[in-house]
Structures are given as structure tokens and as C-alpha cells.
């Protein structure tokens, strides 16, 4: 389980080929492609472990380079924090 959730001011909208995150506080829309949307739901809505998200990505997108995906997940979490779209919540 991660200790991050989508921020209170954030609205998540799932679409066929990805998702949109709208931040009421800033008025900014952040688009997510299908992989990023999957990660967002897995980590910040369902609050699954990054390991579980990684396993899901490997199956869905048939990824073989596990280290690259791990690095992408870490960068995704940092990016979401920097954009103010997620906030810490106790586990």
C-alpha cells in the first residue's frame, strides 16, 4: 500500500485511452496516457504497492525491462507530487 492519495482538490476522470486529472486549486488539467492512468488508479486510488502496480504493468503491456518500469514508477510518483496532485496519507 502506498501512503499517497489523490489530493482533495483533484478530480480524476477516466477515459477510453487514458485519464484526465483536474486540479480545482490551480485550474490545471493533467492528461495521463493509458499506462499513467493505470498507475494512478493502482497507486493513488486503490493504494496498491508499487510492486503490485509493476506486476500489473508487466502483464498488461508485456514489458520485459523491469528496472526501467521501476524507475518510471518512481519518476511518476515524484512528478505527481511536484504537480501537487497527490498528498500523503497515513497507511
Amino acid at each position: 500500500m502506498t501512503n499517497f492519495v489523490l489530493g482533495d482538490s483533484v478530480v480524476y476522470r477516466k477515459e477510453a485511452d487514458g485519464a484526465l486529472i483536474y486540479n480545482h486549486a490551480t485550474g490545471i488539467v493533467t492528461p495521463l496516457n493509458a499506462t499513467a492512468a493505470y498507475l494512478c488508479e493502482s497507486l493513488f486510488i486503490n493504494r496498491e504497492d508499487p510492486e503490485k502496480a509493476l506486476a500489473g504493468i508487466k502483464v498488461r503491456w508485456r514489458v520485459t525491462d523491469e528496472e526501467a518500469v521501476k524507475s518510471d514508477i518512481a519518476r511518476f510518483i515524484i512528478g505527481m507530487k511536484q504537480l501537487g496532485l497527490i498528498e500523503e496519507k497515513g497507511i
Binding site: 478530480v11 476522470r13 477516466k14 477515459e15 485511452d17 487514458g18 485519464a19 484526465l20 483536474y22 490551480t26 485550474g27 490545471i28 488539467v29 492528461p31 495521463l32 496516457n33
Partner: protein
């Protein structure tokens, strides 16, 4: 009151060498007004703009290359290190203009409304203008300028979209932009030839589905309709920049953009009687825009998650149709009324 920087001055030449059926400005045809600004006045205006934050100048028309001092103007803008943007029909680009522009790293848009003279002339009138525009693109490309081609989509040329995209790519253009024809100016006479909002959105989605990765194709469609992949690539993200621009008409009239050509209520002053600073800082219409965008936008814009980036898309068009700048975008309003505005993009 605080005011934002004036980033771009739009200079509209009232004169044109074509009489395009869809032109929203309705410029004069091969005529020169006795009240047109002289180069010294334009130069002074640019200096005034620089004091307000000016970093770019956009030349439009009519046809901007018909300005009698166009070469001098380009050279001056280069010396002043201002970004040059030009919207042209391309027919008057010669080697000298192309070479001068090459010094400036400009953004040039050239109109091509079909892949053949016959299709292009449906809007442009003059069949020779196709070869001239193609030659214009080629001259720019030879001078390392990759222009954007602008294609105005209507019922009679939609069959030619793919071929025109291929032509633009093969000519060496950097991108092609597909425009929706509004119902302003001369285009009011094209009611039966314009695509409906639904048809334009359908064309966009059909085109997205083909996923052409070899060339940048941009639809002039509100961001509320952009595909996720377009949004992720951050393409089509530019708005007209309404909070940071002023339009200057040939006779020195100042407006929020070119709309002053057809809506006299949106004239804010004249450069011969008003300083640019006094208009930019004190004009009531500009105050309304600054205070009202995006928070006071009406219609479907009020609920749209993109209103901060879109800013009501074209408030000049909205004013033309409703008499209010902030009534909300009409394209999106029509889509909402007909039930195909994307629900996921509404609050």
C-alpha cells in the same frame, strides 16, 4: 489596477490581393487607404509596445506582404529582436522576402485549402494562387524556414484533406493546421458549405484514429475535444493569448484583435490619438476581459475543466454572435446543446 504584459501586437493590413470567400476580416481588394499607418508610425508603436513587455509581432491581413514597407518592417523587427509571426496567402513570397525572414527564425503560416489548384480556388477564387502559394512554401523551405500550412475545411474540400496533408509534408512544412470556418465576415455567405460542429468533431476523431506519426496535424478545435494523446503531446495547446495581445488596424485603430475590422464597438482607440500604454492600462473593455477570463465565462465554458487554458477560445467570435465577450464559446455551446460535448470534461 495590475495589468499583464503586452506580449504580441497583431498588425492587420486592410489590403489583399485575393478575395477569399471565407475571410472573416473582409479586407479591401487591391486598394490602399489614404489613412494607412506609415512605417514611422508603426515603428513608434513597436517602441511603445516594448515598454509594455512586447516580445513578438504578428503580421496578418488581408495580406501582410502587401504592406508597402514590409521589407523595412521585417528588418526593423529583426534588429529589435522581436519574434515575427506571419499569416499569409503565400502568393507574394519572393526570394528576397524569404531570405530576409530567414534571419528572423519566424513562424510563418501559409494557406493551402486543397492539394490542387481547383480545390484551393474553391475558397481563394484565383486558380493561379495555388501554384503561387506552393512556390511560396518552397522558397521558405529553401531558406530553412518550415512554415505551417493552414487548411480551411469545408464540405467541398474535406475529401482532399489527406492529400493536402501529404502535400504539406512533402513540401517540407513543419505542420498543417485544420481550421473550422466561422460565420464572420464574408464567410456568412457560406452557410451551406461550412461543416457543422458535429461534422468537424467527427473529422477530427476520424483523423486521430489514423494516427499519423510522420507529420504534425493540428485541428483548430477546443481542447475539450482533444484526444488524450494530443493532450499528452501538448499539441494544439496554444490559445490566441487574448490577455496579452492587441490588434492594430491599417488606419491605426486599436482593438482586442482583428475583430475591430467588423465590430466597431470593440475599437479601443487610435494610435494617432492614444498612447498604447493608456489603452493597455486603462481601457474598460480590456479591464472586463482581464477580470472576466476565465472565471466569469458563461455557457458551457463555466463548467469546462479546460476553461483556464482555453479562455473561452475566441471571445471575438462570441461577441460577434451574442454581443457579449464572456458568453462562452459557441462551438462548445453547440456541441453541448446537441449532446456530444464530452461529459468527462465537465465539472
Amino acid at each position: 489596477m495590475d495589468y499583464p504584459p503586452l506580449r504580441t501586437l497583431y498588425f492587420y493590413n486592410r489590403n489583399c490581393n485575393l478575395r477569399c470567400r471565407h475571410c472573416w476580416i473582409e479586407p479591401g481588394f487591391n486598394e490602399k487607404g489614404s489613412e494607412d499607418l506609415a512605417f514611422a508610425e508603426v515603428r513608434e508603436l513597436v517602441f511603445q509596445g516594448q515598454a509594455l513587455g512586447l516580445d513578438s509581432v504578428k503580421l496578418l491581413g488581408g495580406e501582410p506582404l502587401l504592406l508597402p514597407y514590409i521589407r523595412q518592417f521585417i528588418d526593423f523587427l529583426i534588429v529589435e529582436q522581436l519574434k515575427i509571426l506571419i499569416e499569409t496567402n503565400g502568393t507574394l513570397i519572393d526570394d528576397d522576402i524569404a531570405a530576409r525572414l530567414a534571419e528572423a527564425n519566424p513562424f510563418v503560416s501559409i494557406s493551402l485549402d486543397g492539394s490542387s489548384a481547383e480545390t484551393h480556388a474553391m475558397l481563394r477564387g484565383n486558380p493561379e494562387s495555388f501554384d503561387q502559394a506552393v512556390a511560396g512554401v518552397q522558397k521558405l523551405v529553401r531558406n530553412s524556414i518550415r512554415p505551417q500550412v493552414i487548411f480551411c475545411l469545408h464540405k467541398a474540400n474535406r475529401h482532399d484533406l489527406d492529400e493536402t496533408v501529404n502535400l504539406a509534408r512533402d513540401l517540407g512544412a513543419a505542420s498543417i493546421k485544420i481550421n473550422f470556418i466561422s460565420d464572420m465576415g464574408r464567410a456568412q455567405g457560406m452557410a451551406n458549405e461550412r461543416l457543422s460542429v458535429q461534422e468537424f468533431v467527427d473529422m477530427y476523431h476520424a483523423f486521430c484514429a489514423k494516427s499519423r506519426d510522420d507529420f504534425k496535424v493540428l485541428f483548430d478545435i477546443p481542447p475539450a475535444f482533444h484526444s488524450i494523446s494530443t493532450l499528452v503531446r501538448n499539441e494544439n495547446a496554444r490559445t490566441c493569448g487574448i490577455r496579452n495581445i492587441l490588434g492594430v488596424l491599417s488606419n491605426g485603430d486599436i482593438s482586442i484583435c482583428g475583430i475591430g475590422n467588423i465590430e466597431k464597438e470593440l475599437l479601443l482607440g487610435n494610435v494617432r490619438s492614444h498612447s498604447l500604454a493608456s489603452v493597455w492600462k486603462d481601457n474598460e473593455t480590456l479591464r472586463i476581459i482581464r477580470a472576466g477570463l476565465p472565471g466569469n465565462l458563461g455557457g458551457v465554458c463555466r463548467r469546462c475543466i479546460f476553461k483556464k487554458t482555453c479562455m473561452g477560445r475566441c471571445i471575438a467570435n462570441t461577441y460577434h454572435r451574442t454581443g457579449s465577450l464572456l458568453d462562452g464559446d459557441l462551438f462548445c455551446g453547440e456541441a453541448y446543446r446537441l449532446g456530444f460535448f464530452p461529459e468527462t470534461r465537465l465539472l
